[in-house]
Symmetry: C2
Subunit: 399 residues, 2 copies
């Protein structure tokens, strides 16, 4: 019974009754221990210890403590990951750091399957640096051939947010290094979704988010990784006191801290960071290879069930699970309304423009029974054309 | 009885028994209603509504809602302030935006009394832009004379974090505009501390922090202000999806949102942001001019009491309250150890290198009786040379 593998971890989450939650790739559910931890930081920390909490409750080290918990999930050594800011801000930090190491090369190579904010960040950075830098966007399948010796930085999201298509981190990083190209991997849909081996792949920089598969809560702090041999050499454009060698010396000149500490900038949001810190405890004892096997079982089952029941839907994800992340997407011309109908019926996925219905399979709390329920519900939506109801066509701000 | 003015607001805070808290300029205490709000976001938001919380609990608009609550305290119109990121990151955003408007001018003018992270951010930005930009740091008293027609941006913190010395926002901004200089004011020690009139002074940009006088909690999100007539024209270097005109269209190209929205970047940390949102309710009905009068009463009284009792201490703050913020600092060669002794005796202030003992007077919850207790305790520390004990000399990470 493969379901049993994750029966233990499922019990660690608060999951609303009667809901099948296939949107943990957008916002992970609430781990049960988070409530108590955040309350402790509010009451015993902020309330009772006040400013003393920075020392006495370890707030000053929390960014690195959280980083170390994430490091284990992404194949990064201790002390090479820090939790900070948002994914976008972290990308700006590592991208400007990488371009600073790239000498005369000016091209940032990315692909059209990247999450748009990454492209926006790169557009802003390239414009700011303004020294002939350019962002080159190719189709995902053209990335490998486009890694040439004039490229400064390869900036790639491993798992396509729409289709779940998985880039080959080892192969692309190796090709990049052959060509003298610095690599930045966005792990937003990888960290906690599948085994990642940053050190084994020799990746230069990585970033990712805390609120998807890491279950850190809405807008949880993001993380970033710097390869240890780069860490003392990089010079990001975003420099703040938390990244100073001696923040409380209050020197007028910036002297970067040693190692990953220099990638810190401002004062971190402790309540949100503490929630993420505790949320990461659900990963204790989880084998990422077992997680991956289970993720494939769940997603293969979903594809099979949906294709048998809903001929209107077209698989948008790769059929080969070895090149697919932990999500499955289907195209349907009325995908937005169909997803609203599905949510109203208790199965929560999400929609990505223009026509993608997206379902995340997070083995820590999704069972095969959930998968079947989801497919059955989707079949009913299609059969009864529930997506045709006007109430499901009204767009919300967040889709 | 001037104390009575703020008896109402004092009751809104959780203040530990037996503590006189004169460090609200470093971390404001816990407003009583925050606990319930954060729990609601955890339980009814994240736990029950999951991803639907972004629409149903208004998370997507929370940065602007918080901004509007702050706007009232700093003389800014509705819709001109957004809560986001850290102060350092916000400064990077407005500084790069301002330099983008400055044409051929390349000089960022600041002063040596500025909080160091502001100088670090400027050093990073100037280096990144790398087109002849430079950061010019003068003494605080030389700022006015240094505002000349070759300066691009005047970047000033209104209240000196060490001494409490207050810059004249109206005069310096007027002089800057006469010379065609764009102004950025850092309000970290101003917002919630004294009346600020951004609109009346015609300030171009402002930033500030949420965790000091605004009582938003440890590392609370910061804020930024853009003068409304600039808001649709500025082009910050840090561009992310939350600042896009249509974040959920997932376009490959960045198109900035209208107005202050474009200063958003990544996904905001909702638990911390919600805490700040609720914390700001304590300001309902508070008259900032009354607050200022009260702040001066408290700080004048403290200076008088300390100078009468502790001849070893030398006033580091301006004696004239009209050019002083809501804090009072004294120099003492053993200031670090003396502050540790004072904290051990229940009076919490803080220390700033090399020799500054700093005391914040936050009228929302500090009474004249607190002020007298603090001075009496300090007298005892000095008289009994408690600062000479070895346990008070051991430095913590956060001072």
């Amino acid at each position: 019974m493969t379901d049993d593998i994750f029966a233990r971890t499922r019990a660690l989450f608060e999951l609303p009754e009667g809901i099948v939650y296939l949107d943990g790739n957008s916002l992970g559910p609430l781990p049960r221990t988070v409530r108590e931890r955040v309350l402790a930081e509010i009451d015993q920390g902020w309330g009772e210890r006040l400013i003393r909490g920075w020392n006495e409750r370890g707030w000053i080290d929390l960014q690195l403590d959280v980083g170390n918990r994430i490091a284990r999930l992404i194949g990064a050594p201790e002390g090479s990951v820090v939790a900070a800011d948002s994914t976008s801000v972290n990308l700006f930090k590592v991208l400007t750091a990488a371009l600073g190491m790239a000498g005369d090369r000016k091209i940032v190579l990315s692909d059209s399957g990247n999450f748009p904010t990454d492209l926006y960040v790169a557009q802003g950075a390239v414009k700011a640096l303004g020294q002939g830098h350019e962002l080159k966007i190719v189709a995902p399948e053209e990335v490998e051939a486009s890694i040439t010796a004039d490229v400064a930085v390869l900036m790639i999201t491993q798992v396509d947010y729409r289709t779940g298509r998985l880039h080959d981190m080892a192969a692309l990083t190796a090709k990049a290094h052959e060509q003298g190209v610095i690599t930045i991997w966005d792990l937003c849909h990888s960290a906690g979704a599948l085994p990642v081996d940053l050190a084994g792949c020799n990746v230069d920089f990585a970033i990712g988010c805390g609120y998807k598969y890491l279950n850190g809560g809405p807008g949880a702090p993001a993380f970033l990784y710097v390869r240890p041999d780069h860490a003392d050499r990089v010079s990001p454009s975003l420099c703040g006191w938390m990244g100073h060698e001696a923040p409380f010396a209050f020197d007028l000149d910036y002297r970067p801290a040693r190692g990953i500490d220099r990638m810190r900038v401002g004062t971190p949001a402790i309540l949100s960071l503490a929630a993420l810190h505790t949320a990461l405890e659900v990963w204790d004892g989880v084998d990422m290879n077992a997680l991956r096997r289970r993720s494939i079982v769940l997603s293969e089952r979903f594809i099979k069930e949906v294709e048998a029941r809903c001929p209107e839907l077209e698989l948008a994800s790769p059929r080969d699970p070895s090149v697919r992340g932990s999500q499955v997407s289907f195209r349907f011309r009325e995908g937005y309304a169909a997803m609203q109908a599905l949510i109203a019926e208790g199965v929560i996925g999400d929609f990505r423009a223009p026509d993608i219905m997206r379902f995340g399979f997070t083995p820590l709390y999704i069972s095969e029974a959930d998968v079947v329920t989801a497919a059955q519900t989707l079949e009913r939506i299609m059969r009864d054309r529930l997506w045709d109801r006007p109430e499901y066509r009204m767009r919300s701000k967040v889709t």
